[in-house]
């Protein structure tokens, strides 16, 4: 904890040292929170490891990476870890932190944030400004799906590193004018089972191919049937009866299509600061 504050203090100094020591101790600065105003300047670093789950070198590496991405694309890519959060709505807490710390770039405060709360192992994502378009509901679901295995194994550095990579990939796609969404899905990794299917299917097709060519070599066999010797027009049907017996009706319930399969986009909610946020949360 102390180390984190020390690092924080150092980075705040670099920003200009305008913020007082009092503000550093609060996750959400009171002076802005109470007035519902959003500060012009960013009050916290892009990576704020209040739960201290990263080593110093890991933290430095990640911060460099996040700053590079954020500078290049003018979108803040943020990470927040806490031991516990106030209130019982992690998404609201994340929104408050993002808004009243002045996170996000430009007038629209473009950015998004991944937050972990270690006590109950909660995660939350909040998106703001263009971040809402970059990470739609689909994008957030995809992101969590990708990093959840690492989070589950407590490999936080790996998870955050992947988060940074995926963020850059999503930002680039948004810059091209085709943000990832339900209609434009990310091409992820192919499940391992396809390797087995490919080997099995390949062997089967290979066998059919080789056998069909080998069949050219065989032309001697006992013949089936005697179609060549049927007396012309000798086949006459005298009874031709189709009797209906019974009907069997089987009803199978189909669950309604999931919402992600629909129009896509982001679900947003308004925030006390006056702007709207997108986001989601869950357990890891």
């Amino acid at each position: 904890m102390k180390r984190a504050f020390a690092a924080l203090a150092a980075s705040v100094m670099l920003l200009g040292g305008a913020v007082t020591a009092f503000a550093e101790e609060q996750l959400i600065p009171n002076e802005y929170y109470t007035k519902n105003t959003v500060p012009e300047e960013r009050q916290k670093p892009l990576l704020y490891d209040a739960a201290d789950i990263l080593s110093d070198s890991e933290e430095a590496n990640l911060l460099t990476k996040l700053e590079k991405i954020s500078d290049e694309h003018d979108v803040d890519v943020c990470i927040l870890t806490v031991n516990a959060y106030e209130g019982n709505d992690i998404e609201l807490f994340a929104d408050d932190y993002f808004a009243y710390n002045g996170m996000g770039q430009g007038s629209e405060k473009d950015g998004f944030m991944l937050m972990l709360s270690m006590e109950d192992r909660d995660w939350a994502i909040c998106t703001h400004g263009s971040g809402i378009k970059i990470f739609t509901d689909y994008g957030q679901e995809y992101l969590i799906k990708q990093i959840k295995p690492e989070l589950g194994k407590n490999k936080y550095y790996d998870a955050f590193d992947e988060y940074a990579d995926i963020s850059e990939q999503f930002i680039q796609e948004w810059e091209k004018g085709t943000p990832y969404d339900t209609t434009h899905r990310v091409k992820g990794k192919l499940p391992m089972v396809w390797v087995l299917i490919s080997i099995g299917g390949g062997l089967l097709i290979g066998l059919i191919y080789a056998q069909s060519i080998k069949a050219q070599l065989t032309s001697v066999s006992m013949q089936h049937g005697a179609d060549d010797y049927i007396r012309q027009n000798s086949f006459k049907l005298t009874v031709n009866r189709d009797t209906f017996l019974y009907r069997d009706v089987h009803r199978e319930y189909i669950p309604p299509a999931e919402k992600s399969g629909g129009g896509g986009g982001s679900t947003t909610h308004s925030h006390s600061s006056g702007s709207s946020f997108g986001g989601s949360h869950g357990k890891f």
Binding site: K187, G188, K189, L190, P191, W194, V195, I197, S198, I199, G201, G202, L203, L204, I205, G206, L207, Y209, A210, I213, K214, Q216, L217, T218, S219, V220, S221, M222, Q223, H224, G225, A226, D227, D228, Y229, I230, R231, S234, F235, K236, L237, T238, V239, N240, R241, D242, T243, F244, L245, Y246, R247, D248, V249, H250, R251, E252, Y253, I254, P255, P256
Partner: protein, 358 residues
């Protein structure tokens, strides 16, 4: 035993049946003879020659029992001894190469009803083998150059011809299903039917190989023969070819004819059951009536080649020219093709999955 040679009335050379002109032809003076003229001649000849039956070749040099399945004939041209098995009906004299017919093998109750004369000649058979080797990818490359053509024989093979009439019925259980959506439910309706078909069907001249010497599968594979090309039997047709009399009785051949007929009957009835998603045969009551079997000689060219210590047998339909015969497989080539095809198919499957299932 009676041996018949057809002598040319012009030059006294031994004449034989010529498949190209479909007549008897003297290979020495090119004189041709109508088959009908020979029919009368043939009948005249059947009255004589019996005196030779007294001739007993079974001298002391044969062990007892050794000649049970052998017959010894004397060539009428050179007097040479022709030894053949008990079923041999036509051959060539090993000394003077004149075609001879053992008329006794086809007299009386043993007289075939019909014969289909050879339509394609020996050259066509040899050509047929060459064509047969073309386009077979797994045939060992050296087989074409190295295989040695041992023998080409034009054989009249004895066949039993069965006419069969069948009547009866077949019962099937069939189902038809379709599905549609009702709200959040997928409704699949399956309707079950009992389907009954009754009728009759007839077969003409289903051939069954009457010679135990000829492989049954080879004989069935060279078929079908076109029975409209058959003519009443005359021994003269055999001149110049090999022939055997039957050694499998008609009674022992009926089962095979019925077996083949039954498959076709099943298919014929099955084809009338249409418009169902599943058809399962539940039972039948079929009666098969066989008429008396006819006895015919069908023309088959049999070619034997040897390669790599193995013998390969080929057959060509002497009427239609259909060529059959199993060939050896290049195992290395087979394995390579299998491996390459598997790898390409595997990569293709993975690539398609990579494009659509990520």
């Amino acid at each position: 035993m009676a041996v018949q040679e057809y002598k040319c009335p012009c030059c006294a050379g031994a004449i034989e049946f010529n498949s190209q002109v479909q007549k008897m032809k003297c290979p020495y003076c090119d004189t041709e003879f109508e088959m009908d003229a020979l029919l009368a001649y043939d009948e005249d000849l059947s009255t004589d020659g019996n005196d030779q039956l007294d001739w007993n070749p079974e001298a002391s040099e044969w062990q007892e029992g050794e000649t049970d399945h052998l017959r010894v004939y004397s060539c009428q041209s050179c007097g040479g001894e022709i030894v053949g098995d008990e079923n041999m009906g036509a051959t060539k004299c090993p000394y003077c190469d004149n075609p001879v017919v053992m008329t006794g093998q086809f007299r009386g109750t043993l007289k075939p009803d019909y014969v289909i004369p050879f339509k394609v000649d020996k050259n066509a058979a040899v050509e047929g083998l060459k064509k047969h080797l073309v386009g077979k990818k797994f045939l060992p490359k050296v087989f074409k150059e190295q295989n040695h053509l041992d023998e080409v024989k034009g054989i009249y093979v004895p066949f039993w011809l069965f006419d069969a009439d069948a009547d009866g019925g077949v019962r099937y259980k069939c189902s038809r299903s379709h599905s549609h959506t009702e709200g959040n439910y997928r409704v699949t309706e399956t309707e079950y039917f009992s389907v009954y078909r009754e009728g009759k069907i007839g077969f003409d001249n289903i051939p069954v190989d009457g010679s135990s010497k000829m492989p049954d599968d080879l004989m069935e594979s060279v078929g079908p023969f076109d029975f409209s090309g058959a003519v009443p039997f005359q021994t003269a047709y055999l001149a110049g070819y090999l022939a055997d009399k039957y050694d499998v009785s008609a009674d022992n051949s009926t089962a095979r004819a019925n077996e083949r007929a039954k498959v076709s009957i099943d298919e014929a009835f099955r084809n009338t059951v249409q418009g169902y998603t599943s058809v399962i045969k539940e039972g039948d009551n079929l009666r098969l009536h066989n008429a008396k079997a006819k006895y015919a000689l069908y023309p088959v060219w049999v070619l034997t080649t040897s390669w790599n210590g193995s013998t390969y047998l080929f057959g060509m339909n002497g009427q239609t020219g259909k060529f059959v015969g199993n060939l050896p497989c290049d195992k290395g080539l087979y394995r390579r093709s299998f491996l390459i095809a598997s790898i390409i198919a595997g990569i293709a499957i993975y690539a398609v999955a990579w494009l659509f299932f990520r």
